[in-house]
Symmetry: C2
Subunit: 194 residues, 2 copies
């Protein structure tokens, strides 16, 4: 088989969740049915790898010095929302119900994987949140064990600095039936009833 | 979000089996944890897309005029094995028990998807098999409905030209227990008992 085909299969395996068989299938598909897709993807990878950096204020991916949200001066500077990933930020933005700024951790605390406070930029978050304008930090990390631990650490770090630290409400998802909601969620929804 | 990040996510969706969520996950992973992987994959794609062609004799992927197998003059020119994909050829090669040449269809007959005899190179196969040296054509297409139909068409095409056309044996897989083998396979294994 061709050397550059083997090289392509090896390179595709660097993608998360892609094993040998999937990589082979992808390589064959691109070479047999979608060469223009291969060229396009190759170019997009090069461009993103060299052009995409981290926003200097919120750490999300951006091509300039500041991302679009941080560059928008019309937002509410008193609110800072902490999320794990740019995808979480995008989900919040799509709701259209948050007008503050974000801080993107680009991960979550995970000591077993060697991800500590420094890896997810907590020192930077402390600095960002104490800019004198932020009053409330909304911690929107995931409700997983690691996301909860991360939220706890952030609360411990920011509350002593006089900031209000809140968490997204836990409760029954909109449109769901109680019968199929897990017990922990129902217990939380009961405790936080209003 | 960055324009070249969106472009990368769109491009990743050209890969088979990759939807929006997987593409996002792949893009974030590469940009956050594996930039060198992104550059490597980008380069591998460009190189494969421009460098990989089809072997002029067997149609498999190769970088030269002939693939390694076709260029090997020590093999048995009387045997020609027809497979659907380079992966199938690789599987047969790994057994070490076939010393003839291959013809790679790069697909299978699938009229509903617009894949006819011309798309899988059957005219080229007819020419290749009648080079005066080939005596037996072993049809190793998959034992799926489409693979069987392809094998049937190949048999109809080559038998009138005086070639012996055979098919891989169907039977119980090595190491398997009868209880868990499907009935069609057992029936075939019974009929082809030896």
């Amino acid at each position: 088989m061709a050397g550059s085909l083997d090289a392509l299969i090896d390179a595709l395996r660097r993608l998360p969740g892609v094993g040998v068989k999937s990589a082979q299938r992808m390589a064959y598909h691109l070479l047999q049915h979608d060469r223009s897709g291969a060229v396009l993807l190759g170019r997009a990878l090069q461009q993103a790898a060299t052009g995409v950096q981290h926003c200097s204020r919120c750490h999300t991916f951006t091509e300039g010095e500041l991302c679009g949200v941080c560059a928008d001066t019309s937002r509410d500077a008193r609110l800072l929302c902490v999320v794990e990933t740019p995808a979480d930020q995008a989900a919040l933005e799509r709701t259209g119900s948050f007008r503050g700024y974000y801080y993107v951790l680009m991960g979550r605390l995970s000591p077993l994987d060697g991800v500590g406070p420094r890896e997810i930029g907590l020192p930077g978050l402390a600095e960002r949140a104490t800019d004198g304008r932020v009053e409330e930090v909304i911690v929107a990390t995931n409700f997983t064990a690691e996301g909860e631990a991360t939220a706890h650490v952030i609360g411990e770090m920011l509350r002593p600095r006089g900031l209000q630290v809140t968490r997204l409400a836990r409760g029954v998802p909109v449109g769901s039936e109680l019968e199929y909601v897990d017990l922990g969620t129902i217990a939380h929804a009961l405790a936080d009833r209003r």
